[in-house]
């Protein structure tokens, strides 16, 4: 039994660009307990429903998080459309799917880079982010924005992707795929990377189930949950299988996300080959009356949007349950018993998005 000490982690920490504070209780080098405290980025954007009407709230919802911003806007729009019983045109559904998968690509490449930076492999970090810039260029070409690109609106989308752009997306994706194959080899087979990831932070299937984790984090422990299989937007017409691994360690989480990059590329290709012609949006009139839950799959996992209105222009309640909020209890459990030096890596493996968590 060693001496107990408490080491504060964060809020300003080199490994994470975002502030989170953890009190780590250590016994020698082993973490025995973790007390998270959040709230450094709490803005209270759900309360803006009092001041912005439900059309303007799309832009607020998109700014829940800069990385999965498109998904937040889409989830919010879906929830409102569902309550108001609006069916959006098929082309808009496909366009949303393509943008959602582009967001997933850029988010996963971003995460791979941060992970590489976390275990001190600087050049791998640069390579991942270099590939990511190609995706951002595609997003900029199609929408005009790089990270927050506000193309959603209640009732459809605001911009179209022309056939030329679709062709360009396909050629760029071929290049991205070839580039990812190169860095994939380093991530999965390099021995120094393996020594940092293999067998670190293992969570069993049962633990993850009981702690309610979601997304790639849960799939790496063998739980087959992927909200895309619910078939919202155009996902119902497309062919894909959730990627599941059974090891439950950091290496499995990395593996799942790398395979999801290929999966996203494949989904975009399918969507481009099937995209129908048609209108971009339908006009929406009236006020929100009723309530609804919508679940969508964000790059980090299942996100839930709850909208409630009582026939006014302003919503009564908007609730966004983000994936990292659901992953926090599992993170706390995972950190118990790990080595102090592994803490930054383990925090990274849940792909934390603190802005999402605190809203």
């Amino acid at each position: 039994m060693g001496k107990k000490s408490i080491v504060p982690f964060g809020p300003q920490h080199p490994v994470l660009p975002e502030p989170i504070h953890l009190d780590l209780v250590l016994e020698d080098e082993i973490v025995t307990n973790v007390i998270p405290s959040i709230g450094f980025i709490h803005r209270g954007l759900e309360s803006l429903t009092e001041k912005k009407d439900y059309f303007e709230m799309v832009y607020v919802a998109e700014r829940t998080c800069g990385i999965c911003s498109f998904g937040h806007g889409m989830g919010y729009c879906e929830a409102v459309e569902e309550v108001m019983d609006v069916e959006i045109p098929d082309r808009a559904k496909y366009l949303r799917t393509i943008w959602m998968e582009l967001s997933r690509l850029h988010s996963h490449l971003l995460w791979l880079g941060l992970l590489a930076d976390g275990f001190g492999f600087e050049s791998l970090f640069y390579q991942s982010w270099r590939i990511r810039e190609r995706i951002l260029d595609l997003i900029e070409l199609t929408t005009g924005g790089r990270v927050i690109f506000s193309v959603n609106k209640v009732g459809g989308v605001l911009k179209d992707i022309t056939p030329d752009m679709l062709k360009h997306i396909l050629t760029e994706l071929d290049q991205v795929e070839a580039d990812v194959r190169v860095i994939e080899h380093t991530f999965l087979f390099d021995y120094s990377v393996q020594s940092r990831l293999k067998g670190v932070g293992v969570l069993s299937r049962k633990q993850v189930h009981m702690l309610g984790a979601v997304g790639p984090f849960a799939r790496a422990s063998g739980i087959n949950i992927d909200m895309r299989s619910l078939g919202y937007e155009a996902y119902g017409d497309l062919d894909f299988e959730p990627i599941v691994s059974s090891d439950g360690d950091s290496y499995a989480r990395c593996e799942v996300r790398i395979h999801e990059i290929y999966q996203s590329i494949d989904i975009i290709r399918q969507a481009i080959s099937k995209i129908p012609e048609g209108e971009l949006s339908v006009s929406v009139k009236g006020n929100v009356k009723g309530e609804h839950f919508v679940r969508i799959e964000q790059p980090r996992g299942e996100a839930i949007y709850y909208v409630k209105g009582t026939g006014k222009l302003y919503l009564d309640r908007l609730r966004i349950r983000t994936p990292t909020f659901a992953n926090l209890p599992a993170l706390v459990e995972m950190l118990k018993g790990c080595n102090y030096a592994d803490v930054p890596i383990l925090i990274l493996t849940i792909d934390p998005c603190i802005s999402c968590t605190e809203r």
């Binding site: 080199p14 001041k51 700014r63 990385i67 982010w129 270099r130």
Partner: protein, 149 residues
């Protein structure tokens, strides 16, 4: 002093931003935009930093953190507020937990607007910060000399 002013180090802190500006700040440091060609290095240590780059607005909880980071940085220093939230509070200005822009807490020298701020404008802000920093270095050296005599 002559060497310090050619390679100022950057301390990045995420106030209460949505992350969009943060990943753009990081994107600035990666090969495509490569802000490191100006001698900038992103550091996690406030004691070694010369330019304080802050994204997002101020709330009651991060206010002491921002203040402390600013005080820990050695003189001379430059503060750059990146993104509309850091400049004025932005879309979240009306939220109950946001006090406003960074200038409600510490003096800001350079404002970089945009939601999210584009890498080009962040680099522009950084270059201006470097020029200002050089000027402050000279003033500071002059001041030290004057005190010495």
């Amino acid at each position: 002093m002559a060497k310090v002013k050619r390679s100022p180090w950057v301390l990045h802190y995420d106030g209460s931003s949505c992350n969009g500006c943060d990943i753009e700040v990081l994107a600035c440091l990666t090969p495509v935009y490569d802000a490191e060609r100006f001698g900038i290095i992103n550091t996690g240590d406030p004691l070694q930093a010369d330019i304080f780059l802050i994204t997002g607005g101020i709330n009651s909880q991060n206010q002491p953190v921002v203040k402390q980071l600013y005080e820990q940085m050695s003189n001379p220093k430059v503060v750059v507020a990146v993104g509309t939230c850091a400049c004025t509070g932005g879309i979240f200005k009306e939220c109950y937990n946001i006090k406003g822009g960074v200038d409600t807490t510490i003096p800001v020298d350079i404002y970089v607007p945009g939601c999210a701020a584009r890498p080009q404008s962040i680099i522009d802000g950084l270059v201006q910060a470097i020029n200002l920093f050089e000027k402050r270095c000279d003033d500071y050296a002059y001041q030290l000399n004057a005190e010495g005599q």
